[in-house]
């Protein structure tokens, strides 16, 4: 039997008050197994990013169950959630969000240091070498190209060996060739580590590289088959 890494059961989320009140997620249910990859597509405002935030514990859902590796995120306090996220969920952003005054090595070491890893810098070095940046350890983000910055971000997300990697438009700020290279890196890293991957993108071709795809519209998950439509 396949191990379930992510379970979403009837998750609802409403944002805003009064006239601006919008139902962002409407009864979303989803199961994802270890090593599985899922591409989430849909038009702007369909709820893709909100779903990503809810399942990584960054947004509190109004109702429903969100369990990662069997831990119900809705039951955790803010600080416990932050710690859990640091160890179990890796996040890659469209804008990289590296810490400008820290070197590539230090950026990758941050989640390890926060998690209390005994040798954060050795581990960070290994991760950077894996993404091909072994020669750029002491460079600051401002001294790296966009593609290199995203590779540092991927190394940082992978370093704590999370159960699940979440990527929000990871190639959105990159040129086509660099984007393809980054996507290759993401998929191969997850495959090598048997890691679950969730990917939000507008790029149907990128989503197509995932084992499964879902399409979202008005806060609802449409049939998986419709993702190809």
């Amino acid at each position: 039997m396949q191990e379930t890494v992510l379970r979403l059961d009837h998750v609802n989320l409403t944002l805003g008050d009064g006239a601006t009140r919008v139902k962002v997620l409407d009864g979303v249910s989803l199961n994802l197994h270890k090593g599985e990859s899922l591409g989430i597509v849909g038009p702007s405002g369909s709820g893709k990013t909100s779903l990503l935030m809810v399942l990584s514990g960054l947004e509190r859902a109004d109702s429903g169950v969100i369990a990662v590796n069997g831990t119900d995120l809705t039951k955790l306090s803010e600080d416990a959630l932050a710690q859990f996220r640091g160890r179990s969920i890796g996040i890659v952003f469209q804008s990289f969000h590296l810490i400008p005054n820290m070197t590539a090595l230090e950026n990758v070491a941050v989640p390890l240091e926060l998690a209390g890893h005994r040798a954060p810098f050795e581990r960070a070095r290994v991760e950077l070498e894996k993404v091909g940046l072994g020669a750029r350890l002491t460079h600051f983000p401002g001294q790296l190209s966009g593609g290199e910055q995203q590779r540092v971000a991927i190394a940082r997300a992978l370093a704590p060996e999370p159960a699940m990697l979440v990527a929000d438009e990871p190639t959105g700020n990159l040129d086509l060739a660099t984007g393809i290279h980054i996507a290759d890196l993401l998929f191969s890293a997850c495959r090598d580590r048997d890691m679950t991957l969730l990917l939000v993108t507008h790029d149907m071709q990128l989503a197509g590289r995932c084992a499964r795809q879902i399409k979202m519209r008005s806060g609802q998950v449409l049939d998986e088959a419709m993702a190809d439509a």
Partner: protein, 857 residues
């Protein structure tokens, strides 16, 4: 798996990791902390410098105690010498040096001019410690010894200049002529004898006897300095002082030790420096607003990093710790700069002070002063940083998915606000408990906090008023008013920071101007033109006749005068009596007292009845009503006064309302006449002659001095000039301290304007894109700065006027007069600063190209 290689950190581990992250993050430099650093450094430097100077002076007084006192022990008696028994008691302690001090007139030998002098006679063994410095090399004994039958004297250069004399010239003192043999540069015990109103003239004890100036009731001070064979420790000296006080204290002796050689000066310096340090603390509190603004601006720029930390598993408390470490590192740097300044500035001030204080001021580092200043700097930073730090709670990793919402905002939770309040309370407690005048410290801090609150309300009212103003037809006015209430408007920080600095400056300027105009104007107008002291009973009629001829239009008043010291109240020894600080001057040292069969003309009866003109019963006293109230005295209570070595106890028969502002002869205590029947005493006279010109005044002075060389004449104008100079020096120091507060205000203002400029740039670019000219935008910004500056200045003028009125009218009991020019200056200064600084920053912005900014919108 990662979990297998994890270790648990605990609180200390969190702090270490937070410090590592914080320091790594600081690699970008402290560019955003310039105003922050300046505010902390200035405030710390102000407090540190003032305390260092004060501690330096006090330390010097303590170290040079033997020289300052010119002995290990000092005994003083007023109006009488020690009896043989008393002298034997003093002489048994060690080597004794006797000196006599009194004010007298020195007349040029040709009688053409004269000057009041502080005459001092010394014996052969003076000084027991330290040395008298003259401009020549001849010994003191030789300088003062008689030559060809003429006694020698030395005086400072100022007396030579005043009377046009040179070494070798002669002066008439009392009944004899003395020859000026050298210029007196310094005498060791000048500090312990207090500030003189006139130049010193030093002669030998034999010469003093020949002058005939020591007569019945003369206002002379007899000093006995003792050099102990084996001077004990400070505690031993104190114990000896206590023993001697028990033996001699109730006989009118004032006893001092080298451990506390100049108590009045020490007290004055302590009080004044604490006042200045509190003004410095106010500057630091004003700077706190700048700190809060800078911390907020810094954290706003760090919101993406904060969100990233949180997305990687950091909790809110940990993230706050990272930035608290950064802020405290920056604060430590600011404090260090301030402390370096605190160690350097007093060296410069010390040299300047040595011109006023005959004292070698220590130039060392004063650890207590620096520690205190450092603690104030760090605690103030912490207090003003906690609320902005608490706001980072609202920064969540969600922001990383929505770049457009990375601007500042949010509110701090109650725990952060309470913590900030507690740290602020700690700052206040530190200021109050380290002050020797906790009440004044409390009032001043309370005033500063109240000003903060009131200015906060004023800022809120301005914002509300601006938001409710009807839509103006003028684009410029509409833009200006809109800028005053939009989110991120500069109104609040500018009103609070500049308002506090300007209020302080207005209050100090008004107090200073009022004090000086009182001295030169109303006090000079009301006061008599001359005081004459040491008039013998046998001389009083002849003196009045002479004065009547010399000043036909003058009004002459005479009263008998003795010196007395209160030794007990209600039968309780004064040392054990609870004397409130405001009434301490009444019981401290000798006071002038008088007797009268009738109530003095410038008083009104408040309680009780005046005694009959021929009353001859038990001793009665009339006490000044306000001072009696402060001392808790009422009708029927007893007052014991030591006069000429004898304790006299009188019952309070009535309380008088004394009009001290009248500047005529006033006494706290007026006794029934029978009490001093037969007691030797002199008379005090005043002459008021408003019509007399300067030449006529000089002539009156000359006539009196020539006819009565032993009578001391004090020209009130000269005394007021000295008082005015003193106020000028005092106010200069206060102004320097207050200007630190104003500079800090301006720094905070500049910081707030710079922070506001980020938003202003976007507005300006969009408005330019929509067709606004540079002129329209500059006019709108200038108008906005003008409105805020004007509102702040109006408040500062009102608040400063109320504060100064309270000090002048209620505390000093003087007449307050508002000074319109100070109000105008304050308003002009406020407008110059707000418009000047505001437009300087805005002008640069308006020159920037639109495209780069539009791309980021």
């Amino acid at each position: 798996m990662l979990d297998q290689s994890l270790s648990r950190r605990g609180w200390f581990g969190d702090l270490r990791l937070a410090s590592r992250f914080g320091l790594r993050e600081l690699r970008g430099g402290l560019a955003g902390f310039r105003i922050f650093l300046a505010c902390i450094a200035l405030g710390t430097a102000a407090i540190g410098s003032v305390n260092t100077i004060a501690d330096g002076i006090e330390g010097s007084i303590a170290r040079q105690g033997q020289s300052i006192l010119a002995g290990d022990l000092g005994f003083e008696l007023v109006q009488r010498e020690a009896t043989p028994e008393e002298f034997n008691r003093i002489e048994a302690l060690g080597t004794v040096s006797k000196s006599v001090g009194l004010r007298s007139m020195a007349l040029k030998i040709d009688g053409s001019d004269q000057s009041l002098v502080e005459l001092k006679s010394i014996d052969d063994v003076y000084p027991l410690y330290g040395m008298v410095v003259t401009s020549g090399q001849v010994s003191l004994a030789e300088l003062l010894a008689p030559k060809n039958g003429v006694q020698g004297a030395i005086a400072p250069q100022i007396l030579y200049d005043r009377l046009g004399l040179k070494v070798g010239d002669r002066l008439k003192i009392g009944d004899i002529a003395v020859e000026l043999r050298d210029v007196l540069v310094s005498e060791p015990d000048a500090l312990s004898e207090g500030f003189g109103f006139a130049p010193r003239l030093m002669i030998s004890d034999a010469a003093l006897v020949q002058t005939g100036l020591i007569r019945e009731g003369s206002l002379a001070e007899f000093g006995y300095k003792v050099r102990l064979a084996n001077p004990p420790s400070t505690d031993g000296l104190k114990a000896l002082q206590d023993d001697l006080k028990a033996d001699l204290g109730d006989k009118g002796f004032r006893i001092r030790t080298s451990a506390n050689a100049a108590p009045a000066l020490s007290d004055s310096i302590e009080r004044f420096s604490q006042f200045l340090a509190l003004v410095g603390l106010c500057a630091l509190l004003v700077g706190g607003v700048g700190v809060a603004n800078a911390v907020q601006a810094h954290l706003d720029t760090k919101r993406p990093v904060i969100a990233t930390f949180k997305s990687l598993g950091a909790g809110h408390g940990f993230v706050a710790m990272v930035y608290l470490v950064q802020i405290m590192v920056a604060a430590a740097l600011g404090v260090a700069i301030g402390l370096v300044a605190s160690a350097i500035l007093p060296q410069l001030a010390g040299s300047a002070l040595e011109r006023f204080l005959p004292l070698q001021i220590s130039n060392g580092i004063e650890p207590r002063a620096l520690l205190l200043a450092g603690a104030f700097g760090l605690l103030t930073t912490l207090a003003f940083s906690l609320v902005p730090l608490g706001k980072t709670q609202s920064v969540t990793p969600q922001l990383l998915f929505r770049d457009a919402t990375l601007e500042g905002g949010g509110t701090a939770g109650w725990p952060w606000k309470i913590a900030a309040g507690l740290v602020m309370a700690l700052v206040a407690a530190l200021a109050i408990f380290t002050s020797q005048q906790p009440k004044i410290a409390m009032y001043l801090l309370g005033g500063a906090v109240l000003s903060f609150l009131v200015l906060g309300v004023v800022a809120m009212l301005i914002v509300r008023l601006a938001s409710r103003m009807p839509r103006a037809r003028s684009t410029v006015l509409r833009l200006a008013v809109g800028n005053m209430y939009r989110p991120g408007a500069i109104t609040r920080p500018v009103v609070i920071s500049l308002g506090l600095g300007l209020t302080l400056l207005t209050a100090i300027s008004l107090i200073d101007t009022n004090l000086r105009s009182q001295i030169s104007g109303s006090i000079a107008g009301k006061a008599p033109d001359f005081f004459f002291v040491d008039i013998q009973g046998s001389e009083i009629d002849g003196f009045k006749t002479l004065l009547g001829h010399a000043s036909p239009n003058g009004k002459i008043d005479t009263v008998p005068m003795l010196r007395g010291r209160i030794t007990a109240l209600k039968g309780i020894k004064i040392a054990d009596y609870n004397v409130p600080p405001e009434a301490a001057w009444v019981t401290r040292g000798d006071r002038g007292i008088t007797y009268s069969p009738v109530m003095p003309g410038n008083s009104t009866l408040a309680q009780g009845t005046w005694w009959a003109a021929d009353y001859a019963g038990e001793p009665l006293v009339s006490f000044a009503a306000e001072e009696a109230g402060e001392l808790g005295l009422g009708l029927g209570d007893t007052v014991t006064v030591n006069v000429l070595g004898r304790d006299i106890t009188a019952k309070i028969a009535n309380l008088r309302q004394v009009e001290w502002r009248s500047m005529s002869i006033n006494f706290v205590m007026v006794f029934s006449p029978s009490m001093f029947k037969g007691a030797p005493h002199a008379w005090l006279a005043t002459l008021a002659d408003p019509s007399a010109s300067a030449e006529q005044e000089a002539k009156i002075l000359n006539t009196v001095t020539r006819a009565y060389p032993a009578i001391t004449s004090v020209r009130v104008k000269d005394a007021l000039t000295i008082a005015s100079n003193f106020v000028e020096q005092f106010s200069m120091a206060v102004r320097v301290a207050a200007s630190v507060a104003l500079i800090t205000s301006v720094l905070v203002l500049a910081g707030a304007l710079a922070a506001g400029n980020r938003t202003r740039l976007h507005d300006a670019v969009i408005l330019k894109m929509l067709g606004a000219t540079r002129r329209t935008l500059v006019s709108a910004f200038a108008l906005e700065y003008l409105l805020i500056g004007l509102a702040t200045a109006v408040f500062a003028v009102l608040a400063g006027t109320v504060a100064s009125w309270y000090v002048i009218d209620r505390i000093m009991s003087l007449t307050f007069s508002p000074e319109p020019w100070i109000a105008f200056t304050t308003i002009a200064l406020s407008l110059a600063v707000t418009i000047g600084f505001g437009l300087a920053g805005t002008w640069r912005l308006l020159g920037q190209k639109s495209a780069p900014v539009l791309r980021t919108l």
